[in-house]
Symmetry: D2
Subunit: 341 residues, 4 copies
């Protein structure tokens, strides 16, 4: 941590700040500059609330040096983590050379619907099937999902196809059921800072696909992962699903530079969600290819056999035919960046 | 809903869209323009997922006409709602002529701390005491609150001062305890779209102070309130706490125009949180005055007897002395806009 | 400047960075921490391109300490600047106890229109008349302003009312004409970083009303002012006119906390533009009052005698009657914050 | 245009709006819905200021139907435009199958520097050389470019390499010189709405590389292009260079979905600038590949032989060796998406 004093800060103000620093069990180095005095502090500031120092008299601002996350960082683990969606099933691994595709409808709507789309998704080349049984909806009047019945259909789809099941868990009460029927627990963007839910997922033994909140900073995203890791679950997959900006031709802005940046600061696999990341089905194919080229370890894509009649998120879903084409096209891009698909 | 067709859309494409519209139990009006055909639909579109129509061939875009919220809207209830923080205690009412102040520390840290600050807050002229017993923290390594012990100290503070207790509830499991000890359930910005929690609060009989998510639209904010109202709890207080933007001199940007806009579209009381809304204690006094001038029904302010040693959010807390000055200054502004304080 | 080295940076990497620092005529202090080495540099870094140091091997990031602006800062001049819109006319001064109002139509549309509105603006209590003769319009097909003819009508309005004339200058070629007929040169948000224009205004002897760009940081805003000051023109008025965010109920978000923050870091007067700052006439009155309560030194308001027929920006203009009411209401708020109006 | 009336709007309010519509030479269709009356207007609204209708009594909001740009739209010209950077030199064409690379330093710093980098850029496979002679700098104290001397060195670099010269023009006064020495006029992000400059470029016969403003909407970007096209210059290249968001690990967020969207709504070639689009040299290679995969027609990349000593923008520049590797890698991606490089 670096503490920058105001111009003209008095010696006693500097000394008072140094006392605070020592109270925090850090060691101070006072450097008197031409216009400002700065105090460089040595020690592990990571778990201190250093912001309060900004209140001390004579302090202009405080600059943290250490990132506040640890277990999710590259420093904690140099080699990249590989995570199998289904335990001990290497065909479902993310984070290695192979770029994995997870696809499926926004919501499970019926047994027939999910089984039909599961086979199509399998045939297209995916390793996982996504589908919501519990749906977070902006409006209380919208369809809220089929619940446990939906989970059972998803499990049946796995029986028939071998696809790993990825489904969203919205609250702690749903965790038991989701762990029973699904392979991967998805935390939605709106719950990225639902810390109780994160902690509860940290105590399970299922991989967690964690979506970035739509206005979360990279640091907050890493700290959300840290909540899960710190409770003992090492299998967190980071998912970029778009951020909220002023742009109007998309529902969200998909900031792909976060893919190489996350891979630089973290060992966890990184996937993107071009469906939510644009909100427009006609933009999904291009953004899938761009994601793979940027180095993504996987894609999560909304697919529906009859998007015009989808009960949720139809506007960003693609048909199984388009999905198959996307996978074919992305495979070529994957090879061009020395990956597989 | 208005459906705008692409230039050159064929008659059969228009007819197919009209069929979709009729399937939704709406009535269509086709208007052939000089460059575009538009289809104006009559009927209650509020609960339909109209976005899927964008997928139909020949459709360029879909424009909803009706806002998707109902019970929270001004159309549902013309007169402004008045909500007493403590049931049947008019001295704690928000939404009337009087601008109410809720103040207190970010976290309950000890019995002595909360009792001391409660008396100071009372003396400054507040009607409510805020204080977190369960703390949502970005980092799993930060102080997470005192839990039920903290709630008990808050209840004791109410005994001594008569202040209404406002405390954050982070998950359904905490609801019983919060309802037992506190008067007002606060939903934090990070949980604004934790729909299960919203619904659960809708089934209680305590007022809910609902904070806007840091990148939520006004419509999403109103729909979050709708979740609570739709379950039977009419007492929702809307709280603006700042949005995330590119600005760097603040932690959040406090967009005060939302105060008159919310009061235009909704009957619910509107309060602002200049502490989180700026993140900098030196900006809090000016933004409190500005909030009152903009028409806010209340203020929620972080106050701590020793901000430099606060366990959380010290950088945005003010001392009791500054709080007292803020209330005195805001009272003058309140009178200048024909309010009271 | 503080240079943070990567974990594990070698001694020779640290030494190489120190050489760079010395090349920049700065003095280095190497501090070896528990997890990172940091290099604190002493000297005036303000005019160096310190970003390049991020490229040196072993460097993680570079943290500047000194703000890059100087003449516009509070450090350069402790007392607040007072600027008369009309030279030597104290009744038109901004930056003192009195909050000044500048009002008028977006565009000069005809002699009759501008004279009529000028008298109404004068009667409402304004000190300045705004009106565009040269109009920056998003579309090349929109009305582009009356040009020099419009300037002449503005000058005539000053003759009749004594109001100071504030008008936008879009390019260097228009400077002579604007200086001849107007009192204050307005730089629009879209031109805030039109550096040639800023420099040219710095060589004139007219006050400049500089609008913040709609996504400019506070630092960029201060540096834009610095361009004008550095060329010898000390009379810069800072104007906040709203930033671009994801919010949809307004055209722009008016971030009022910048008012006290600019007054903290700079000696220049600060005015707000609630008309562009919201884009909605029904939100203008509340945001005018909020601006005054936040401490603004002035307001600039779009007013038109017949907004429904205004050629530009009608949707955010208020009528003379509403303007008069705004001034009456704001005067009460001004008094409540120990100002005048 | 669709006009949505407030609930309970009276018949006379509707009639008054219809009169306004007829004054605008449009034809109205009144549709009475269950909760709202809407008025659908037929005719070319494109050049009307329809926003003023929001002021009429009883009007809730106004929804434009037609995009306000015309010549830049796909409707005006179905086939994609191909633009040669050097007239009649097909090896420098953008917009066809081949993805073109433009590279070079941020600023021309000396004759030796620009000639050295030009040869390296040529060898890497680029078709154009970028380099600033006139530099828009945030700070008045920063290096402002070599001016005409720099232009002459650029022209000499073209003589030696055959590369097309792309250079930024900041003001009308610089146009003659830039047209004399350079092949392509670059309009920087800060000048995207410098309408006088756009119009002046529209009267020249050099291709214009137009950068999107950092908070410009797609519509504003298209209208800026329209300014140039409307004056008779058909050769506009659209360049995405990143937008300003809350993200902190980059200087700008590069929103690649705009590439396919611009190609959908416009016939103009689209290039991206991953250097400014991230501001971090270590993110440039991944974002170059992602841009090509997303369908970009070209890349503009900052390259410098000695980035650590670059006078401007060193932190986002790559070395010639890295540039050569980027081009090799991107060529593979280009082939994978059926393009060339």
């Amino acid at each position: 941590m670096i503490i920058v004093m105001k111009p003209g800060a008095s010696a006693s103000q500097v000394e008072r700040v140094c006392q605070f620093v020592r109270e925090m069990k850090l060691k101070e180095n006072v450097i008197v500059g031409t216009e400002r005095t700065v105090i460089a502090c040595v020690g592990d500031e990571r778990y201190k609330d250093t912001g309060v120092l900004e209140l001390a008299e004579g302090v202009e601002r405080v600059v943290p040096i250490l990132a506040p996350y640890k277990m999710s960082s590259r420093e904690a683990k140099l080699e990249r983590s590989q995570i199998s969606l289904i335990k001990n099933n290497p065909a479902t691994t993310l984070g290695g050379k192979r770029v994995g595709v997870i696809a499926g409808p926004c919501s499970v709507e019926s047994r027939a619907q999910i089984l039909e789309v599961a086979h199509a998704v399998k045939q297209a080349g995916a390793i996982g099937l996504r589908g919501g049984a519990f749906k977070p909806r902006s409006s209380p009047y919208s369809f809220q999902g089929m619940g446990i019945e939906g989970l059972k259909y998803l499990a049946e789809a796995r029986e028939q196809t071998g696809l790993a099941i990825v489904t969203e868990v919205m609250s702690i009460e749903q965790l038991d059921a989701c762990c029973e029927y699904a392979d991967v627990l998805q935390i939605g963007a709106r719950n990225m800072q639902n810390f109780n839910l994160l902690s509860a997922c940290g105590e399970r033994r299922k991989p967690v696909l964690l979506k970035r909140g739509m206005s979360a900073t990279l640091e907050e995203f890493m700290l959300a992962a840290e909540y899960i890791l710190a409770r003992g679950n090492p299998d967190v997959i980071l998912c970029e699903r778009g951020i909220r900006t002023f742009e109007e031709y998309v529902r969200n802005t998909l900031p792909l530079a976060i893919v190489p940046e996350l891979q630089r600061v973290s060992h966890l696999p990184v996937v993107t969600d071009p469906s939510h990341g644009t909100g427009k089905s006609h933009l999904v194919p291009a953004m899938c290819k761009a994601s793979v080229a940027a180095g993504a370890d996987g894609l999560i894509i909304e697919a529906h056999s009859d998007p015009e009649h989808a009960m949720t998120d139809g506007a960003q879903s693609v048909t199984p035919e388009v999905l198959a084409q996307i996978v074919r096209d992305c495979r070529r891009v994957a090879v061009a960046v020395d990956r597989d698909m």
